[in-house]
């Protein structure tokens, strides 16, 4: 296997991890203000959706928990490798350390690979339930204008919008994202009006997560094969370190932008009674 090809593969995995990570940016909030005019009534979060979300959050937490130890071990080995200036050294100790790192890296990939199917099943079920809800409640029952009226009815009140982070420091970004969604749905779902932005965010994130899980799985498969071949003599690459970095960020999160979206669309429009004749309801 050529170095160039290896680099390409490692880059691919790093990218897939990064893309999965990027999904953690999102969380949404929407609260509808008390009706002062009739708005379409919809229920985007039936019990099946709430249960799926809870299950996805649990599956993500399990995956992160399974990976915690192996990533910590890899991180420790990597630090030792860096501190002893082993890069490009043919010293026996360095060769052993290099081999150990590769072995742990392979172990990490295997843990990820074994966690992916249950994560995928859970995400699949969330995406399917959420998609059915969006299609049935908005796609078929409502016009785009109805959607706009619902979005316009959101309250300025941010009461209860702050998502309490009750999670431990070890809780990863992926599980955090879905547990935050779960919490939001639990609170928002009790209201009679629906939360289309939140539902859309959950649906799109689930679909994208599924896509990147597939990419990740394919990439892990090909890297595992390469690692078996190169376990004895291969050079460590920066891409391995980069991938480990991405996985760590996926697990524990270094830059959490998940609150950003919470700022979106929270203010209710002012009632423009003065111009009501010139505004379309």
């Amino acid at each position: 296997m050529t170095m160039r090809k290896q680099l390409k593969r490692h880059c691919g995995l790093a990218m897939a991890c990064g893309m999965t990570l990027s999904l953690a940016h999102a969380s949404a909030w929407a609260v509808l203000k008390p009706d002062d005019q009739p708005r379409p009534k919809i229920n985007l979060f039936p019990t099946s959706v709430v249960e799926s979300l809870s299950e996805t959050s649990r599956a993500a937490r399990d995956m992160e928990s399974d990976m915690y130890d192996v990533v910590a071990k890899l991180d420790k080995q990597n630090r030792a490798y860096q501190s002893t200036n082993c890069a490009n050294s043919d010293d026996k100790g360095c060769l052993q350390l290099r081999k150990a790192i590769r072995g742990t890296y392979k172990e990490m990939l295997e843990v990820m690979q074994s966690s992916i199917p249950s994560m995928r099943n859970s995400l699949d079920s969330t995406a399917s339930a959420m998609g059915g809800s969006l299609r049935g409640e908005i796609g078929r029952k409502m016009t785009p204008g109805d959607v706009q009226r619902i979005l316009a009815g959101r309250s300025t009140s941010q009461q209860g919008m702050t998502v309490t982070t009750t999670s431990s420091a070890r809780q990863g970004k992926l599980s955090k994202m879905f547990s935050r969604y779960y919490e939001l749905v639990k609170r928002g779902g009790q209201q009679s009006d629906a939360l289309p932005v939140l539902a859309s965010q959950i649906y799109l994130d689930s679909m994208q997560s599924l896509y990147y899980l597939d990419l990740l799985e394919a990439e892990i498969g090909s890297q595992s094969t390469e690692l078996v071949l190169e376990l004895e003599w291969g050079e460590l690459t920066d891409q391995i370190s980069a991938t480990v970095g991405d996985v760590k960020a996926l697990l524990w999160g270094e830059t959490d932008r998940s609150q950003d979206i919470l700022e979106v669309g929270l203010e209710a429009p002012q009632q423009q009674e003065t111009y009501s004749d010139l505004l379309v309801k």
Partner: protein, 185 residues
């Protein structure tokens, strides 16, 4: 008898010609007749436009007035401009220069944080979103009008931010609904 008949024959075309000229002078106004003055006083300009629009000969100038008034109001932004435009639109609707729907369209496009292009979609979302690109293009154009109306004319940044939020929220919801609708088909 013959002499008077001949005189009558000669006089008739002359009279007709004079009459036609007089009519022409009455109905065809000089180009400047419907034009607005070049004053920078926004109030005065709105008043002028309002007066001119009472004359049916100037009805055709409504689109030009609209553009000129937008430009003038942009030079003196403030919340009072909304009432000025609303008054002019109401007068124009009452005079039959524009329909109520046209008046609502203009006012909404510039001053309403919600999107007229979205409100005017009468079909279900699954059906409407088959032409999502067209809807998004219309929303983009309307967002530019809103920028002009809310920022340049009213100097009302919070309202424009609200329009932007509507824009991005609707994009997200429509994207998701479109994917969900496509998953079934």
């Amino acid at each position: 008898m013959n002499v008077s008949a001949t005189a009558l024959k000669l006089a008739t075309p002359v009279v007709l010609l004079l009459g036609l000229t007089a009519c022409a002078q009455q109905s065809v106004q000089p180009a400047s007749y419907c034009g607005l003055s070049s004053t920078n006083n926004v109030d005065k300009l709105f008043m002028e436009a309002s007066q001119k629009l009472q004359d049916p000969n100037c009805y055709h100038a409504f689109p030009e007035y609209k553009e000129e008034l937008i430009a003038a109001a942009s030079g003196a932004p403030g919340p009072e401009n909304e009432a000025r435009f609303a008054r002019l639109l109401r007068e124009s609707i009452d005079s039959g220069i524009i329909s109520k729907r046209q008046g609502q369209e203009i006012f909404s496009q510039y001053f309403d944080p919600e999107f007229y292009a979205v409100k005017s979609e009468a079909r279900s979302s699954c059906t409407s979103l088959r032409r999502k690109d067209e809807l998004y293009a219309a929303m983009r154009v309307e967002l530019a009008y809103k920028r002009e109306g809310m920022l340049d004319i009213l100097d009302d940044e919070p309202r424009f931010r609200e329009a932007q939020r509507h824009y991005s929220d609707m994009h997200m919801v429509f994207d998701a609904v479109e994917v969900a609708c496509m998953q079934e088909s």
